[in-house]
Symmetry: C2
Amino acid sequence: MTRIGIKEIAAKADVSTATVSYVLNGTRNVKHKTRERVLRVIEELNYKPNDIAKSLKSRRTNTIGVIAEDVTVFNVPEIIDGINDFADRHDMHILLTNLRLHKRIGHNFDQLDDYRKYAENAVNELLSKQVEGIIYIGAHPRDLTGLIDTAGKPIIYTYCYTQNDPSIQYNDEQASFEAMSHLASQGHTRIAIISGIMNSLPSRLRFNGYYKAITEFQLPFDPQLIKLGDWEAESGYRLTQELLALDERPTAIVAMNDVMAVGVLRAASEAGVTIPHDLSVVGFDNREFSSYLIPQITTMDLPLHEMGFQAMDSLMCIIRGETPDPANHLPACKLIERDSVAPPARVM
Amino acid sequence: MTRIGIKEIAAKADVSTATVSYVLNGTRNVKHKTRERVLRVIEELNYKPNDIAKSLKSRRTNTIGVIAEDVTVFNVPEIIDGINDFADRHDMHILLTNLRLHKRIGHNFDQLDDYRKYAENAVNELLSKQVEGIIYIGAHPRDLTGLIDTAGKPIIYTYCYTQNDPSIQYNDEQASFEAMSHLASQGHTRIAIISGIMNSLPSRLRFNGYYKAITEFQLPFDPQLIKLGDWEAESGYRLTQELLALDERPTAIVAMNDVMAVGVLRAASEAGVTIPHDLSVVGFDNREFSSYLIPQITTMDLPLHEMGFQAMDSLMCIIRGETPDPANHLPACKLIERDSVAPPARVM
DNA sequence: CTGTTAGCGCCTTCAG
DNA sequence: CTGAAGGCGCTAACAG
């Protein structure tokens, strides 16, 4: 089966290859009769254009490279989905590179050198494939400055960032403030917070939101209510036990992710503390399982789809030589209200 | 910045373009001195080969197309990861198409016509990009015969299947049998099963495994223990209530997925039935949340990574003109033992 | 309105 | 061991 091309159909339709190209791309007016004839032959021969050849000539591939640090991490698929959403509408294609970071180097995200070579390879292969731009999806929010050199090709980061390139992140501080605001509006004043590891940006930003709310709503500030966790369920469990052992217990806990909220639930359950009657809980991330827990927890939904969509949008802007609107680079989170928040019980 | 190519480096190194090509690909012996010189110029000019041009000439793109019905569905990312695992080792690239089925047409998987056009477009675009083969990842196990025409390009399905093309699925019947076997080995005899919707292949296969175990272990067969669910938590909840209302309760329940197992847990909790003391539960899928539930549930892990890996392996076989080994097309599930199974309590 | 033709960047016989 | 030259499939001037 010899691949048939524009030449074959030109011969059979008794026109030149140029004419075929014109009807194919609508680049020029072609007499109706001729067009029909060409179209018919195309149909008959079941011709499929060769984008490779087309790209070589036109110097456009309509393809953008996506480097995902790990597609199996919860935030990544939804971001990819957002990228696809935009790409579909603009007839763009996605060349996906999966760094498989978790499986290759585990959680040692700090040793950037360990996977610099992976990233470099990925970029070079993408560049060789003539992608028109690159989107880098982190599995973890952090600074990647200096890690990647794209030789001038536009790149945009999301769920992570560098100091020189554009990046799309979500509004962490505001989200945290809103979680607090929701709790305050229910009448809570003693609100505890369990953080992720402190050398991570989200932890710091979410603390900012926490303090801002403390100030704005004039809540009592008690350092005992601030607990430093590590994103894992175990820390949520242990720190909640500490919180419940306080003379004056908090009436609500904000866990900086849903996984730690699982620990909160477990500790509460073991201590005979009923949620939400005795203790309100707000999580972060709106992980799928958050609605499978008992009770279903109130949590902050991350605008992952939008981040992917915006990353793609901004990247296309840059490719076209325009300047993307930075206002779109910090989409908001959204509180999902479920069953783990209630007004505080009367004082015992 | 005018893209520099083989020609520029040839000029600067004072050799012909052919020689550059030779050192680049190791196609021919080149005098050591000359090679060094060429290599140096390549370095200096930071030359990056153009795979597009290369592909046009060599008629090989080293790229395979992956069509995912929906990357946000739980099974898909891990399958993609398996594909990447293989692809990385063989220097292959992935052109990803995300059909976004759930967001576009919801759960109406039966109306194949609704998205036939999406699938057709995806295939045509991939074909135009000269992919060397296609992997189709279903979001739901079902028969897709007749949906897709790849014009002769090799295609392989996974997590779904057709009657004519090779596909990679997991061994559902055996998995179900093993879940039963595990329960039986703990001393359970009255084992209930909650199925997914019945017009799905997994439901039928898992029932086969159930019956096989009933026979093999000579367990009492009681139709009352067979409940028809719909994959959703609510059905697990409701059907467990029915099961618990029986005169003679089951001592164990197999839920055909972890989501329904959540319903089982909820119903048990409300009825004051303690898991695993009063009732053992085995789920299916090893969803991430299964280890966040209280108690953490014993469940069947699906060989998703392996399915992706095998799909890629088999596809490469076909591309090379070899015949893949069908023995690899039905990888086994693996029981993950956690805290929801115990020997049955003494008769009350 | 249509045909001719010169490349896009690279590989690969075929000569030397 | 190296160079010259044709061509992969398609587009876009430039002519008619």
